[in-house]
């Protein structure tokens, strides 16, 4: 094994850099059809040292389960998307392997594939959530104003730091697996199922994760299964590394969504009825579908007070590659649609959206979807006030609105607009109960007064490690250097669950604190070393029964508002953001500069999703041309971003804030664009040609 000279717990080796003595490579043979079954697989003449691996070579189960859904490790009888893995080829030269995989003939019985999802049949529904409060039909029948719109968002590429990959090798009596994953214990359990061995016989050694945006939640487990299977069959260490292009074309993307929003306003212009129909295209397999729907439903209903509401949310199966989370598990779809819609509604009523929302936001004690009263006050007033002061929002909105109304023809006058959006980020447990394990963090204080934190939680940056270490150091009264985080090998650390929904800074951070407090209580009574475990029991899941919902939607919630100001190029109509402002109530902010940098990074990603980044799946999720066209927004074309935090209360907890830019900025951007262009826009990203077309329409 070739390793860095100084092993650094914060910076483990990357999967791409990993080499093991005698290691060979693996390449994936993929399905050429989007739906059907495999009749036969004919490998080309394989040179010595090369070998093909088929589903019948799998010693255990040919399946991987995740959140209630299962997907084949190597598909055979039922193909669900073009590019689905059907076989593997192993050998020493990765370049030759690519050619051999491309030359392999996969003969299939093709069936008619399903690609439509905005209108769908009942057999395509993988999961459904319905919630009703009050009498929405009556509210709409007596409403003074009814407004209805459809909002769509496209798929997005995670563009993580390193393409997905995995390596596997027998290490004495254990199968050692290396991959960059958000969930090491899921990798372990999946590999054990495929190899038909005990879970303890698999050791997962996570490699450097980097930026993942929830794209490495479950897919690394599939690649780990492939690498472990190849290693088992060949009896040698095997690495399977996707190229950027392969990763772009075949791995999960952000799910596409279509949200129909219908609102009814009463006589005073306040929200009297809300009716949402959310369709999320989850692609070929409904992994995390129920969770995404739950998050989307609560996001649509837990910000504004509405006595009569109905939400129907569907996870729709298609023959696209699997699609799912992206910087959050589904809330951003609803926030984008609802906030854009409410901004338009306020504008049509001649009111500043910030004021309209202020009148309609939920207050402590008001009933939410679950029938329970809201426990904490929504900090709307403080956030909106601060944001307005930072961005000069109110004056700019009034000016641009005046310009828009007086504009005579297309392109006349300054084409500027400013948009506002408000949202929350829930952190903590999954709502769906698909993940019902108890999660653990262990702390050890050894005889040298050095504390070791043991957790399988995967971190993408050093910032989270710093938060844990600071917390432990503060509780134990030790210097920061005396706190270490044990590398998260599944042999060494307890299962701390999947690292998503900002759990690392909420749940795991809390467990670190509790474990250290337990040590501190015994520290001067019992001899060293001392060990303490802290366990997080996932609360009871949300119950959905015939339109009624029961349970608690989130553990903690951080709130934020964003304002985006932009102008349109008078010749090309390309949108050019001028400034972005965000104000957050993120609870206790451990390191404000790092937190602000994290929010700015999220804001840039969210802006990229509004402007340049798009994957337009037709039959495949992406095409080669799209791969070459896809790119992040150049740094020099991004606007300045100002971030401010509200002063936390005395007992404020640490909250997750990473998803807030994705929950707020798209709606603010689209509202600004609508104001600048003088026409309503309802989908993102928007191409300049669409803006020109829309502004031509009277």
């Amino acid at each position: 094994m070739r390793r860095r000279e100084k092993p650094d717990e914060n910076r483990p080796i990357t999967t791409g850099d990993l080499t093991v003595e005698g290691m060979i490579h693996a390449a994936t043979v993929r399905s050429p059809v989007a739906r059907g079954s495999v009749r036969s697989i004919e490998f080309p003449r394989l040179p010595t040292g090369y070998r093909g691996i088929l589903p019948e070579d799998i010693p255990g189960a040919n399946t991987m389960t995740c959140f209630g859904a299962s997907i084949p490790v190597l598909a055979h009888d039922s193909l669900s998307y073009a590019g689905e893995p059907v076989a593997l080829i192993t050998g020493p030269d990765p370049v030759l392997l690519e050619e051999l995989a491309a030359a392999t003939k996969v003969l299939c019985e093709a069936e008619e594939a399903l690609f439509s999802w905005e209108s769908f049949s009942s057999e395509q529904v993988a999961a459904k959530r319905v919630a009703v409060l009050g009498d929405p039909d009556l509210a709409f029948s007596i409403a003074e104003t009814v407004l209805e719109d459809d909002y769509t968002s496209k798929a997005l590429e995670h563009y993580y730091s390193e393409p997905q990959g995995a390596a596997a090798s027998y290490d004495y009596d254990k199968m050692a697996v290396w991959c960059a994953t958000q969930w090491p214990y899921h990798v372990r359990d999946s590999v054990a199922l495929v190899l038909g061995c005990k879970q303890e016989e698999v050791s997962v050694r996570p490699t450097r994760l980097g930026v993942h945006l929830d794209g490495k939640l479950w897919y690394p487990s599939l690649l780990a299964c492939h690498a472990a299977l190849a290693s088992f069959v060949c009896g040698r260490p095997v690495k399977l590394m996707l190229t950027r292009e392969e990763d772009f074309l075949y791995t999960p993307k952000r799910a596409r969504s279509s949200v129909n929003v219908r609102t009814a306003l009463g006589r005073g212009g306040d929200l009297a009825g809300l009716d949402l129909r959310i369709a999320i295209n989850v692609g070929a397999y409904p992994l995390l579908a129920e969770e995404m729907l739950g998050q989307a439903v609560f996001a649509a209903t837990c910000v504004y007070a509405c006595p009569n509401l109905r939400v129907e949310a569907y996870a729709v199966l298609t023959n696209h590659p699997p699609m799912g989370p992206f910087g959050g598990l589904g809330a951003s779809h609803s926030f984008f649609a609802l906030e854009t819609h409410l901004n338009r509604l306020a504008s049509l009523k001649g009111e500043d959206p910030m004021d309209w929302k202020s009148r309609n936001v939920l207050h402590k004690g008001q009933t939410i979807l679950t029938g329970e009263p809201l426990k904490d006050e929504v900090p709307y007033a403080a956030i909106a006030e601060k944001l307005a002061a930072m961005s000069d929002y109110r004056r700019k909105y009034a000016c641009y609105e005046l310009v828009r109304k007086r504009r005579g023809g297309r392109g006349e006058g300054p084409l500027r607009g400013i948009g506002f959006s408000f949202a929350y980020q829930g952190s903590g447990p999954f709502l769906s109960g698909e993940d019902s394990n108890a999660y653990t963090v262990e702390a050890v204080l050894d005889k040298d007064l050095h504390a070791w934190l043991r957790t399988s939680a995967a971190v993408g940056s050093d910032g989270v490690l710093g938060i844990w270490r600071r917390r432990a150091a503060k509780i134990l009264g030790l210097p920061l250097e005396a706190i270490s985080v044990v590398p998260p090998l599944t042999d060494n650390v307890p299962n701390s669950g999947p690292s998503t929904l900002s759990r690392n800074v909420t749940v795991v951070n809390r467990l670190v604190g509790r474990a250290c407090e337990a040590i501190q209580k015994r520290r001067f009574r019992d001899p060293l070393p001392l060990t303490a475990k802290s366990v997080y029991r996932v609360p009871r899941p949300i119950l959905w029964e015939e339109g009624r919902v029961r349970g608690s939607p989130f553990d903690t919630a951080a709130w934020a508002a964003a304002a985006v100001e932009l102008e349109l190029d008078p010749w090309t109509f390309e949108p050019r953001p001028i400034g972005v402002w965000m104000c957050l109530d993120g609870g206790e902010i451990v390191q404000s500069e790092r937190a602000a940098a994290a929010v700015r990074i999220g804001a840039f990603d969210a802006l990229g999703a509004c402007m340049r980044e798009r994957v337009d799946p037709t039959e495949r999720l992406g095409h080669r041309e799209e791969y070459f066209r896809y790119g992040l927004e150049p740094l020099d074309e991004l606007p300045p971003i100002s971030v401010a935090f509200l002063e936390p209360g005395r007992r404020a907890a640490v909250k997750g804030i990473g998803e807030l830019p994705f929950n707020t900025i798209p709606a603010a951007f689209l509202s600004a664009l609508s104001q600048a262009g003088g026409a309503p826009f309802t989908s993102l990203p928007v191409a300049a040609a669409e803006i020109i077309r829309a502004t031509e329409t009277p």
Binding site: G16, Y160, R208, F604, P634, L635, L638
Partner: protein, 161 residues
Amino acid sequence: MTLSFILNGEDVSARVRSVDRLSDLLREHFGLLGLQSDCRGGRCGRCLIMLGGRLVPSCILPAFRIRGMEVVTIEGFSQTDEYQDIVAGFKSAGVETCGFCDSAKILATATLLERRTRPTNAEILEQLSVAPCRCTDPETLVHGVQAAAERRARRLYHRAR
């Protein structure tokens, strides 16, 4: 064919095929893992090297093209004073990267500072767009490059005196 060139200040030679990419040669033959070869299309910037003082993506460069030329990778550059200036500047500004794009950002900064002793914000952001990564906070990065430029200028001034 056998190829001779200067790698990080040393004369080296290697046997290459006409199809070999420079990035593969550097990683696999010379074990220089500071550069990566993710996209193999010159887009991701993870494989940047300095070739004759210019920043180039090594994954689209045929290995045979570097015959007799001088190649500097992050491993070689890390032995220089300029590297120390940049790393110290980044650290003082709190630049945090994902660990995958560090080498590209450092080499991009080095070539920029070679051209412009006091680069503007726009020049910094344009130059660092060669290594697109979702980990980047442009504001901190600009401060980091400015701090590096300051340190470099101070060091060169003292040396000149």
